[in-house]
């Protein structure tokens, strides 16, 4: 019986302690697009004034979490549409564009047959793309939308998997399971070869972020957001190959 009293007492202590202890840093939760994983992981450790907890996933899934009532402090997506939608639903403060990226065709290191997007229409090509709901998948469909309908349909018929985020596409390529995929330029690692898209096919890939409404750490969240355009995280983004925001 005594252990129970102890347990209840401990619980009470745990719950009642609203004020953080003097040496305890506040925690800032950042939901960010999977493609930002490498860039934000390191620079967020240097963020002053708070322990940054990063939650990476498909931008669409992170947005869905926010719509379901999950409240991170900052939301950073691989497009500008999702942050704008959330802002119009009164879930996000006015978003800012903080980086740009490029969509590329990615091939496993030993792939030699594929040189242009049209080559993806050849029978037997194993193509992996993002699901329609995730930004990388929607950009991919934009690219294919510029092609003649016949070619586009042949290419879509070669799709062997629609992954929930860009990491899934990269994984299938590095495992040699697929012959080609569409990823961001910043996802290209040593195992993959990037084939740049011709300018007329290249979609505008801009990253938008905003402070989540109702956060109790408005000031810290705003500072983190500012740091995406100017500061260690902005530098880290440039180092990983992200372009500066337009304008």
């Amino acid at each position: 019986m005594r252990w129970l009293v102890l347990a209840v007492a401990l619980l009470a202590v745990g719950c009642g302690d609203d004020e953080p202890a003097a040496d305890e840093r506040p925690r800032l939760i950042v939901s960010a697009a999977a493609s930002l994983t490498d860039a934000l992981t390191v620079c967020s450790r240097e963020f002053e004034g708070a322990d940054v907890r990063l939650s990476f996933g498909g931008s669409d899934e992170l947005a869905a979490q926010i719509r379901q009532g999950v409240r991170p402090d900052v939301f950073a997506a691989a497009n500008t549409r999702l942050p704008e939608e959330l802002a119009s639903e009164d879930l996000l403060e006015t978003p800012v564009e903080f980086a740009t990226n490029e969509l590329v065709m990615a091939l496993p290191g030993d792939e030699r047959e594929i040189e242009r997007v049209e080559d993806l229409a050849a029978p037997g090509v194993r193509l992996v793309i993002g699901a329609e709901t995730v930004p990388v998948g929607s950009y991919t469909r934009d690219v294919l939308g510029h092609l003649p309908a016949g070619v586009r349909e042949q290419i879509l018929a070669n799709v062997r998997s629609e992954e929930p985020d860009v990491r899934g596409v990269v994984g299938k390529l590095t495992q040699g399971a697929a012959d080609a995929g569409f990823v961001y330029l910043t996802d290209i690692t040593g195992d993959l070869t990037a084939v740049e898209l011709p300018p007329e096919l290249q979609p505008t890939v801009a990253y938008g972020a905003g402070v989540v409404k109702g956060t109790e750490q408005q000031e810290l969240a705003q500072r983190y957001l500012d740091g995406l355009t100017d500061g260690p995280c902005a530098d880290a983004l440039r180092e990983e190959g992200f372009g500066p925001p337009p304008g």
């Binding site: 129970l4 498909g58 669409d60 899934e61 947005a63 869905a64 719509r67 379901q68 194993r126 992996v128 699901a131 709901t133 995730v134 799709v159 062997r160 998997s161 629609e162 992954e163 929930p164 899934g168 994984g171 299938k172 495992q175 040699g176 399971a177 697929a178």
Partner: protein, 257 residues
């Protein structure tokens, strides 16, 4: 004794509320409508087909294997059992990576499979492999326990009366252990039906080919919460039906004893 009711109530609320919420979050009519979307039914049908196939493989191979493990004593038996049961506690993501490393295109057997013309990644067969891998220990474990609990004298009597080991296995061991085998099969089937991580990593996700119901739920979660709820509701109903039939079967088996 009375305060024990509080933790029980807590456990009950914690475990039941989320499941109930699936049905309460939106009106039943809307859930049914969301199921009308062809993709949702495709995903459920694929889940059913792959889970049944995986279960068939597990039962055909697993039943004699569990029998041998349960009735023979040999060196390294405990180690063997541990190895077989390992996928039981393996995180799904680890199972996915492990399958890729073993059977993926660049895996250790990938070349051999390719030479044999067997393609698993991106194919329904790959889903079956993933389901079989994660679900089989549930059956093996239960089958082995059931065979182990058999009265040895029955098996010995059957052998003394001239029945071959195979006949003894088929006519004595399987019917007597049947309740346990059914329970194991149901647990394995339930696990297969719910498989997510290993399937996504090893087989991929494409509607009608590799996108099972759990993968379809994950995809819809971002865009169509209603449809995700509807698919979830079906899986809850199927899982509950599995569990209930097992309880029923166990109950009737007990009454026969």
């Amino acid at each position: 004794m009375r305060w024990f009711a509080l933790p029980l109530a807590l456990a009950l609320a914690f475990l039941v509320l989320p499941v109930l919420a699936i049905f309460l979050d939106s009106p039943p009519g809307e859930l049914l409508d969301a199921l009308g979307e062809p993709g949702a039914l495709d995903a459920l049908w694929l889940s059913l087909r792959t889970s049944v196939t995986a279960l068939a493989i597990i039962v055909v191979v697993g039943t004699p294997a569990a029998y041998l493990l349960a009735t023979r004593r040999f060196r390294g038996r405990a180690l063997l059992i541990t190895l077989i049961e390992l996928p039981l506690v393996l995180p799904p993501a680890v199972a996915g990576i492990a399958l890729l490393a073993a059977l993926g295109p660049s895996g250790i057997l990938g070349g051999a499979l390719e030479d044999a013309g067997i393609q698993l990644t991106f194919e329904t067969a790959g889903v079956v492999v993933a389901l079989t891998f994660v679900a089989s220990p549930y059956y093996l474990r239960q089958a082995q326990a059931s065979f182990g609990a058999l009265d040895r004298s029955w098996l010995d009597a059957s052998r003394t009366l001239g029945a071959s080991p195979t006949r003894t296995f088929a006519r004595i061991a399987i019917p007597t252990a049947a309740p346990g085998l059914v329970t194991g099969g149901a647990l394995a089937f339930g696990r297969a039906l719910g498989e997510f991580g290993a399937t996504l990593m090893f087989a991929g996700s494409l509607a009608g080919i590799t996108q099972t119901a759990p993968l379809a739920i994950y995809e819809r979660f971002a865009t169509d919460f209603e449809a995700a709820l509807a698919l979830s509701a079906v899986l809850v109903a199927v899982s509950a039906a599995i569990l209930l039939s097992v309880k029923f079967f166990e109950g009737s088996a007990l009454r026969h004893d």
